[in-house]
Amino acid sequence: MTDFPMTTTDSASARWTADLKSFFLRYGLFLLLVLVILAFAWLRPSFGSAGNINDMLRSASIAALMFVGLTWIIAAGEIDVSFMSVAALANMVVAALVASGHGWALACLAGLAVGVIFGLVNGLLVAIFRLPALVITIATGGLAGSVAAAIGLGTSISLPSTGFVGALLHVNFGVVPLLTVIVALLYAGAWFVQERLTFGHYLYALEQNRAAVVEAGVPVNRLLLMLYILSGVVSSIAGILLTADLSSGQPYIGSSYFIDGLTSVLLGGMALKFGKPNVIGTLTAVLLLAALLSGAALLGWTDAQRQIVRGALLLCGVAVVVWARRKTRAHI
């Protein structure tokens, strides 16, 4: 009777610390975002200027758009490393068509078609034929990348004007670009789908135990096929927007989005879901990365140093996810 392990006050404070820890884990990413923005705004006042915020939001929106499909693919336990090459290919296709005088509407349709085609190829090979996702998407990414380079004969294609896409890109509501509002609405929709529809549940279930989901009667192949097509489509839309943003087609534009995409998805996984990739987390992580890289550029860091920061952040993201899910892992 005299050796209860904890008194009531002890267990209450233990619960409180556990809740606090859980709160920080769940919402820490948002706090980090706010901290980073405040820190850089204090270090470099030009960071907080309307122009800089506008630019950051615009490039973050394009990146966030590219990573939506990737978020769900990684949440389902597969991987897609072709997304940035599909964006580069869509970028080059649009640039080539516009440069040869075909008008932006047709070019955009062609860019979208590129995304659908590569999404279908990925989905067919990985989801239907069940070939290993990593190597197949490395190969399709390589294919997309070299077709992109081939279109421009190894160099970029510059465009004289940016058409209606460019005009759309530069519409602003004060400091917030219209694109950000659109992407925010898209993410809100994605959040709804992920949280309130069974689709989201199947997604996370797939990652934990694919066989069980198949046995439960869920059309897993079709689901994954849709995910890969989604990834292809949003990557190509991002590529189209990049063409207008840069007023040129750049065949190697994808490389910087590669590590950023994986970092955003994995770091974002910490927000709200203790290590499972989710769309709100990805959005926050994209903003965080944009703020960090923009701030680092303003602090005078070279491209190489920022590249190291990106790689280090990805490692942190991975470590954080693994640490968060350590209890559910096998231990050999």
């Binding site: 069940r130 190597v135 693994v322």
Partner: protein, 325 residues
Amino acid sequence: MMALKSSPLTLRLLAFVLLLGVIAAVFQSFAPAYLSENNLHALLRHMSVNGLTAIGLTFVIVVRHFDLSFPGVASLGAMTLGWLLANDYSLAESVAGGIGIGLLAGLINGSVISYLRLPDIVTTIATGGVAVGLSYFYSNGTSLSENFFMSGILDLNDSKFLSLDMPVVILLGAAIVAFIVLHCTRFGRAFYATGENRRSALFSGIRVKAYVLTAFGLCGALACLAITLLVASSGAANVTAGNQLMMPAFAAVYLGAALFGAPSIPATLAGTLLMSAMLNGFTLLAIPYYYSDAIVSTVLILAIGIFDPKLTTLVGGLFSRKPAR
């Protein structure tokens, strides 16, 4: 993989020789210089670079992991080599430095993946990115070529040993050592055991974590050895040196594994020979470099797809005659 593994070795060797013959015939018809002695030497030298990288990657794939960092690590190794040469270190020291960096990076990869249990794909992507960033520090991203001629690094490419080009000798040496280690020793068999069933291997007394660590270390070191040969042949070290290593290495390992049923050193060499034969032919036909990635990617997809047992049973089922119900 059971159905294909049971095909006799002779059939597989025949298939390999046939493929090689077809490639040679096709390219010879388009470019008569293909089978000339000069071109064959160039082909073999190209094969040495890709072959060394592929041998390193074979170890990682045998333990059922992936390494996407070796292009970045190779670039870092190349710049280290270039910097050491430019600062008057001896040839042996510089090459050792380059390969040492590769070994270090590989060991870091391996320990993070195997002891900290981080997922291999994303971790190696991250370390590759960090390595590329670090490689810019030597010369701010410009290429290094001071002292190269004087130091003798170019001899690594130009000299001959028993009338074979030095790069080919290095590849053969590495391949023989790797073959003996992987296929003729218990140490090597343990790699396969770790890959096929990690849990059983662990309970059989194999230190699986150490083997994964070793595999990644070897991959990094061999990738840097490969890039040393590339630097020797091009005469300059630049930060993008490693980029062209990635796709052919994966294609070679998977093509070889598809042809011979499982990843192994001879299979990888066969795959590398086929890939180099194709790429060399396309260079000879003056097809631009950006098409080569497309070709390598297509070969990789085909290699995986055609020899995947699920697909073969699927297609086989389409063509078999089932009795009417």
